[in-house]
Amino acid sequence: MSGVPGPGLFPLPASPGVLRGLELAMAVVAAVPASLALGWPVLTLVAEAVGRGGAEISLRRLAAWLARRTPGAVVLAIGLAFPPFLLGLALYGEAVLSAAAQMAWLWLAVIPLLFLGVGSSFWVALRRRGAEPSTLRPFLPDVVESYILAFRRRGIERAGAAVTVLCLVSLLGVGFVLVAHGVLVARPDLWGPVAGIPDGWGLPLRDPQLLPRLLFALLGALALSGFAVAWHGADREAAGEAAYGRAALRFGVVWFGAATALELLAAVWLVLSLPGPVGKAALAGGAGSLLWTALGAAVAAVTLAVVAAAAEEPRQYVLGAAVAVAVSLIAETAVRQRIRDAALAGIPDIALRAGMLQPGSMMLFIVVSVLGAGLVAYLLWATSGSRRAF
């Protein structure tokens, strides 16, 4: 007699509570680089355009800083997207996979879009003039290779701006597909051929949630990106680069404040667009408290950021705003989790079966994770001590 259940019955690898807690934590962590990857190219283009037009050298330098860090954000966004995806598969595999199959061609289009997004972000960050010899030469045509390497401190120039637009469009495409997938996950009535959608071309274009969800995601990305710039500005100002730091701080706070204000409006639209029972679940009981917490924390964060932009010592206010942003992000993610649960509540096959716990491999994962966290701390300590300021 086999001790292993059949494929259709394989239970969860841990209790639903543990997995849902992990999903919440990892979704919050993943949201940060994903937002930066989507928002920073926009801010790069605006900073470059404003800096070029108004001869504001600080903003062009900010554009260079943003462009240089965008590849790291994109790489982290892809890497950190894996745990929420894996947890989503484990918890709601049927929903995730059915929605993916329904929009298969767009789902697969994410791959070339990622190639374009990642490749172009690196292209902008590493390009250079001239054709100095390098180890890339044997593997790439000269015309490609000659644009790759060290970065200049001033601006991204016209070619860099053009490629940043390509990067932005690609990543927006990825964002659109993932948001549309999220909408489909919450629409079990559209799964499978009963919906009458041609194979692989299902897209919830007429779903009232699509547009508010897209706006919410995009504005959230811009808000978080703006906040990261404000943080960078406050940091630089404290390090003695007053003019540049202040310009970056103000630029970041303007984007953070404006995008957050619009995001709050999108959030209201999103809640109103939810189907009746799902909307009620999002506003009732604990979910309602979480929603108000998210909104309140967002308002507090913007207030603190605005105060920071006017203050002589902005760091403490930015730090306070960061705490408020974190609270808002956690609460908002928890609300989204509840909304999805409410949307899938009537689907009996989504029932979460915890049967075959895997304590040995779970312990090993925890040990590796703790060691990994220690290693990351060491790496940051070892590489930050003597690192250049820019």
Binding site: S2, G3, V4, G6, P7, G8, F10, P13, A14, V75, I78, G79, L80, F82, P83, L86, L89, A90, G93, E94, V96, L97, S98, A100, V110, I111, L114, F115, V118, G119, F122, L126, S134, T135, L136, P138, F139, L149, G192, P193, V194, G200, D349, M356, Q358, G360, S361, M362, L364, V368, S369, G372, L375, V376, L379, A382, T383, G385, S386, R387
Partner: protein, 415 residues
């Protein structure tokens, strides 16, 4: 996509170790030429790891979610914590790779070297875990009885498979570095690069065929039958891999290793192409040995386990398929070769076959009548040894046969 991803992984694992070994040597000797080369070379490693490796890793999951949803669902739950461990290790390799690249000239040399070792160590740790997953898929061993994951992970094929992957990582990493190092200046730098890269490649392509042979010796008989048996692809294709490895070793031993200063880049490129072909054959052999299973003995490529397939033969497949448009074969029996057969094709054939494109069934069934197709469907598992048996009732099999026959193009006309 799987092949490109494998190449990117082999390169990252092998080249990162080679780079850190060379950096250690350069720091010890104060070799500025070598340090400059490595600073430049680390950029290529970073780009290969991120632009190619990371995106292809994401792409592999995206493709599998659409083409093999049942396998993805099962593998997610069965190997959940193993994926987690792999993610931690790969993430550490990626982070340390970014820090290593951006740390040249900005971080104290001793710390920079440690960051490099962390990167290489985590990349090799990732290879170790990936190897366990692949070995589990080929031979879940006692896991099928005990349900203990470690029984499946450390099965009989684990060690030989590790030897294969480690060998290919050393080999591919060494050959890429050889291409970059050939024809560099000054000659002293070239000599160091060519010799070290050649030793890596030589060691790798010596280990890989040994591992391949060992793996064949210990793999389950069914897998060996799938690979070499009369219904499989025969030993000819499998032998290409070791033959290419021997060729590479012979080239390296008589060329770059003895004439380090005059290794032409075209020769290095040729060796790299041979190495990439060897890696491709190795991956193909592993897949062929596993066919038609995703997890040997547990889950087939059509998303059914043995128990589910048997139940479908008794109760009918369409009755059990949640998203089937048609639940009966009534219309097919009435002479309409429509929905039931098409649905069965989508569920049971569509994971590997299309109608007109890749492995197009219209071409395969050309000239066959319904009876012939029905007969072949009844013995799918014996045809080429890589297909699962049809899982459904006799009526469902005939419905599928009827629909497949309708695909055939009559002479001089359209279907």
């Amino acid at each position: 996509m799987g092949y490109l991803f494998a190449v990117a992984c082999y390169f990252t694992v092998g080249a990162s170790l080679l780079m850190v070994v060379l950096e250690h040597r350069a720091q010890r000797e104060g070799n500025q030429f070598l340090l400059s080369f490595l600073q430049d070379w680390s950029r290529f490693i970073l780009l290969m790891t991120t632009v190619l490796g990371l995106v292809l890793a994401a792409g592999a999951w995206l493709v599998a979610a659409v083409t093999e949803p049942a396998a993805v669902f099962v593998l997610t739950r069965v190997l959940f914590w193993v994926w987690g461990i792999l993610w931690v290790l790969a993430g550490l390799a990626l982070c340390s790779g970014l820090l290593h690249y951006s740390g040249w000239g900005a971080v104290a040399p001793g710390h920079h070297l440690v960051v490099g070792w962390v990167m290489a160590g985590c990349a090799w740790g990732s290879l170790f875990v990936v190897n366990g997953i692949l070995a589990f898929l080929l031979d879940p061993g006692a896991w099928l009885e005990t349900g203990r994951l470690l029984d499946g992970f450390f099965n009989a094929t684990f060690n030989p498979s590790l030897l294969v992957h480690a060998g290919l990582a050393l080999g591919i990493g060494g050959l890429f570095t050889l291409v970059a190092g050939a024809e560099t200046d000054p000659p002293r730098l070239r000599s160091v690069l060519v010799r070290t890269a050649s030793w890596f490649a030589l060691a790798g392509f010596t280990l890989a065929p040994v591992g391949e042979a060992w793996q064949v010796a210990v793999m389950p008989p069914a897998a060996r039958e799938a690979l070499f048996g009369p219904s499989g692809h025969g030993p000819g294709v499998f032998a290409i891999g070791p033959a290419l490895a021997i060729l590479i070793v012979a080239f390296l031993a008589t060329g770059p290793l003895v004439r380090t200063a005059v290794t032409p880049r075209p020769l290095a490129f040729l060796l790299l192409l041979l190495g990439l072909a060897a890696a491709g054959v190795s991956g193909w052999s592993r897949e062929a040995a596993r066919a038609p299973w995703v997890i040997s003995g547990y889950l087939q490529v059509n998303g059914l386990g043995p128990r589910e397939a048997n139940a479908a033969r008794v109760e009918g497949f369409l009755r059990r398929a949640r998203y089937a448009r048609s639940r009966t074969t009534a219309n097919a029996a009435a002479g309409e070769p429509a929905s039931a057969g098409q649905e069965l094709f989508r569920f049971q054939c569509g994971c590997c076959h299309t109608t007109t494109g890749v492995r197009g069934l219209r071409r395969i069934v050309q000239g066959w009548d319904v009876e012939t197709i029905d007969h072949q469907l009844g013995r799918l598992e014996k045809l080429r040894g890589v297909m699962p048996a049809f899982a459904g009732t006799d009526a469902e099999r005939r419905a599928l046969a009827r629909w497949l026959a309708s695909l055939a193009v009559p002479k001089g006309g359209k279907p």
